[in-house]
Amino acid sequence: MTEAVKSPAQMTVSDEVAISIHKMNKWYGTFHVLRDIDLTVNRGERIVICGPSGSGKSTLIRCINALEEHQKGTIEVDGTLLSSDLKNIDKIRSEVGMCFQHFNLFPHLTILENCTLAPIWVRKTPKKEAEEIAMHFLEKVKIPDQADKYPGQLSGGQQQRVAIARSLCMRPRIMLFDEPTSALDPEMIKEVLDTMIELAEEGMTMLCVTHEMGFARQVANRVIFMDQGQIVEQNEPEEFFNNPQSPRTQLFLSQILGH
C-alpha cells in the first residue's frame, strides 16, 4: 500500500452521528441471524467488520440500506429512521452507497451508462451533467479510458473500481463494502484497496466487511469482530490485533493470521 498515507488517528472523525443501530435483531424464518446489535458510527469513521463465515457480517451491513429487513430494534441513518416506509428507504438508499463482492455491474450498459443511470433517474440530474460527474469519478478510480466499454470487457479489479465509481456518482455520505476484494486475484486486490484508502483519506464514512488485515490496520479507526450474529469485540486496530480480549477473537485471529 502507498507510503504517504496518514495514520488512522490523523483522519478526522466528527462527533456527528452517521448511523445509529440500537438493539437490532433479525431472523431468517426462525433462525436468529443478528442478535441485539448496538452500533454507533460517527461521520468520518472507517470501520472494518470481520468474523467467521456465517457470522452475519453481510446481513448486518445489508440491513443498513434495507436490502434486508430487520424485525426488532431501530436503525437510524443520518437521522432518518429505517422503517417499512418506502420514502425513508429511498432517502437512505440514495445517501448510502454499496459495493458488493461480485461487483453487480449492469452487463447490458456501458461503464459510463452504469455510472450515470442512477443520477439521471433517481437524482434527475441532466444527462450532460451526470456524464461529467461520472467521468470525474472514473478518473478518480483511474479508468476514464474504459468509459465506453461493457463490464464484461474489464478485469475484475477494474470492474470493482467501476462499481465504486458508480456508487460515488450518487454522492453518498456513507459507503458500505461487502468483501469487495474477496473475488479478486491478488494483483488486483491492491488497486481496489488503494481506491478505498483514497476514499478514506477524503473523510468518507465507511463500513467495510473484509479480511484484509493490512487494510484494517492502515485505514480503520475501529475494528469490529462478529460471531454468531453478535458483536463480540470492538477496538482500535492496534489494540485489536495485538491484544485481543475475547477467546473467540483470539482463535479467529490466529486462524487468519496464523499461516
Partner: protein, 432 residues
Amino acid sequence: MSDTHAESIRFVRETTLPQAEPPVAERGIYKWGRENLFATPGNALLTLIALYVIYVVLSAVLPWLLNGVWNASSLSECREILAGETGGCFAVLVDRWQQLLFGFKYPSAEYWRPALAFVLFFVAAAPVLFFDLPRKMLAFTALFPFLAYWLIWGGPVLVPVVALVGFVVGYLAYAKLVTRSFAGGFFGGIAAAAVTWIIGGFIVDWLSGPSSLLRAVPSRDLGGYMLNFMLGVTCVSLSVPFGIALALGRQSSMPLIKWVSVVFIEFIRGVPLITLLFVASVMLAYFFPPDSNVDLFLRVVIMITMFSSAYIAEVIRGGLAALPKGQYEAADSLGLDYAQAMRLIILPQALKISIPGIVNIAVGLFKDTTLVSVISMFDLVGMIRGPILASTDWNGVYWELLGFAALLFFVVCYGISQYSQWLERRLATDHR
C-alpha cells in the same frame, strides 16, 4: 538449399522464403469437397445417397414448376393445355389471387386500403425493430394502429380519433395521478379513458351521417392472407406487453396479483387454442353487454392474445429467473424504484435472454392464425378450403394452392427468425 548450414546444429536463416500457393489439392473447391463431402468412405457414401435423393426430388418438382400453366380459367382447361404431361396448374393463383390475399367479400375497389396499411406497417414497425432509427419515428408507430384501423375498416374518421383521444386522456390522467400512487394512476387512467370513449361514442353516433370518406367494411368481409397478417401482427404486439405484465405479476410480492397471474397462466396453458377460438365464436358474446355486439375479429384477437401472452409470460419468467439476484440488489442499493429497476435493469436483460423463446411463440402464433378457418372465418386456409376448392372451376388443385399458402407463411416466419438472430447478435454485450 544453400541458405542453411546443414552440417551445423546452430542455425541462422539468411534468406526469406517467398510466399507460395498451397498445392492444388489443398485449395478452394478441392479442399472443401475433400474435407466436407469425401472425408471418409462412409462420408462419401452418404454424399452419394444425398445427391441421389436431391436428384429424385428435383426431377419430380422441377418439371412441375417449370412446365406449369399460368393462363387458364379452370382445372380442366389446364389439363387440356398440359395434354398428359406433368405440370402445375398455377392459373388458379392468377385467377384467384385477390381472394387469396383479401378474401372474397372485401370490395375490390378498396384493395388499395389494406395494401397501403400493409406498406405503412413497415414504416411503423421499423423504429420498434431497429432501435438505431430516430426515436421520433415512434410517434408514427403510436398513430399507426388507429390509421390502419381506419384504412382497413373505413367508416367515420371519428371512431379511431375518439379511440386515440381516449388513450391520450387516459395517459394524461395516469401521469397526473401516478405521482401520488401507482394504483390511483392506473385506475384513474382507465376510468378517464373509459369516460372519454363513452362520451365520444355518443358524439360519433350523433355526428356521423351515412357519408364517410372511406366506405365502411364490416369485419366479416375481411379474409385471405390479410386476415392472417392482421391477426398475427395485432396479437403478437399485444401479447408481448401482456406477457411481460403477467410474468412480473407472477413474481409479485402481492398475493392477489400473484395468484391472479398464476391462475390465468396455468388455466390458459391447459386449454387448446381451438377450444378458446370456439369460445370466442359462440360463447364470449355472453360476457359482453347484450347490445354491445362485440365484433368477431376483436373476440378472436382477445382469445389468441390471452393464449400467447400466457406462453410468453412463461418464457419471460425463465429470463427473469436467469438473472442473478445481485442485479436486483445493485438496482435497489442505487435507489432505483421498482418501475425503474424493472424497466432499466431487469427487463432489458431478461427480455434479451427470452428473445429466442418469444420469437418461437410469435412464429407459432402467426401460423396458428390459420385455425380461425375452423370457426368459419375465411383466412388464407379458409379461402382455399372453402370458396376456391369448392368452386367447380378449381376443384382438385391442392398442391398449387397449399404450396402458395406455405410459401407466404414461410416468407414471414423466416423473416422473423432472421430478424431475431440479428437482434441477438446486436444485443450481445456481455463478451463472455
